[in-house]
Structure formats: structure tokens, C-alpha cells
Amino acid sequence: MKTCKDISELLSESMDRHLIWRERLTLWVHLSMCRRCSGFQKNLHFLHKAAGRHRSN
């Protein structure tokens, strides 16, 4: 059973590479039950967007 910490690491990796189907499934199952990790995922997308915007400022 993956912990939230494991999932948060996998979410970070998903920003840098394509996950294999098994990892995607793991994420999907966990995120469907865990509000905190879902929130963390949204925060990561925000960081990505903000950093992208930052470079053009």
C-alpha cells in the first residue's frame, strides 16, 4: 500500500516524465480516495504554470 508520501513523489515525477500504466493506475486509485494528494497535485500544476510564466516576465 502506497503512502501519501510515496504518492507525492510519484506526482512530482509525473511532471518530468511519462508514467507507465501501472504507476498511472496507482495514482488514479489513490487520488480518487485522497483529497490531500489531489490538492497537492493541483498545487504542482500551479507551480509549473507559475514558473513558466515567471521566465517570460
Binding site: T3, K5, S12, E13, M15, D16, R35, K42, F46, A51
Partner: protein, 190 residues
Amino acid sequence: MDKNQLNNHRTILLRYALLQLHDEAVAEDAVQETLLVALQTGDSFRSESAIRTWLIGILKHKIADHYRASERHYSLGEQISEDGGDPNAALEQLIFDGKGRWIGSPSAWSNPDHVLEQDEFWGVFDWCQKNLSQQHARAFMLREMVGLETEEICLDMNISHSACRVYLYRARLGLRECLEQRWFNAKREK
């Protein structure tokens, strides 16, 4: 090696140069010189990623030349080598309990797009980024601002793939935590 091919790499090279040189005109010059060398050498490479690694290699020399010429010994690379400790090592212990559960509760931030329009936010963003360990901040900037792939970051920073993954993870964890405390929660309390 044709001009179009090189131009595709130009944007990334320019962001990379800006990260180290902090001066647009100087960065432009360094990239221009890099592309000239590349055009003159005209080696054929197998993949696009190999070309970019090669170009960044040339660019690094140009950046080093610049610092040598101006006799300024300041560069991001040197800053990093002075950075012995790892202030973020204990970060995970503040964020997760012994069983790997969140101590706080991350949630989607409200009005994130609106936030990006506020100058005040960028002040906090920079502050948070400076507060990361320099290695972590550099990995994050190379990935999210310059747009390098993780393999390129490993080469650039001379670190293993797993170290690179950890740096990026801790940078994101630290930045997220800092922005939540310094911006999003602070705004909610007002």
C-alpha cells in the same frame, strides 16, 4: 546542422544563459556566439537531445569566458559548490508523519490564475525560491524555467538520476509549503 535546427534550440539556450548571466544583452551575445560555433563546426549528431547537450556545453564555455573577461568570479555554479549542507533534508519530516501521511492538508489554492497577475505574488515567489537549498532551486529552475529534461539536468549538475529526482521533489515540496504559508494562507487570514 542547419539554421532552422539551431533556432529551435535558441530559446532554451537563451533561458539557460539568462539564469547565469542576469543580463539580457550579454546572454544574447553568448547564445549568438554559441550558435556561430555550432554552425561552423557542423557536426552531425544522432538525436536532437544530443545536439542540445552539445550546444549547452559550448554555451557553458562562453559563459565562463564572460566571467573570466569581466574578472567576476560569481556564478551560480560556484554558489552551489559552497552549499555543503542540505537544509531541506528535514523538510519531509515536517510535512509527513512517520507513516508517510500528510501532517497538514494540501488543497487546491483559490484563484490561482488571478494570483499570477499580482506583482506582490512574484515577490513572495522569488523569496520562497531563494529559501530553497541552492541545489534544489537550481534543479527546479533548469527544469521549469529553462525547460531542460531531467537527463540534461543530471549532466549539467553532474548528479545521478535519483539525486535529480529528489532535488526536484524537494524543491516542489519546499516551494509549495512556502507559498501556502507566505501567500495563500496569509491572504485567507486577511
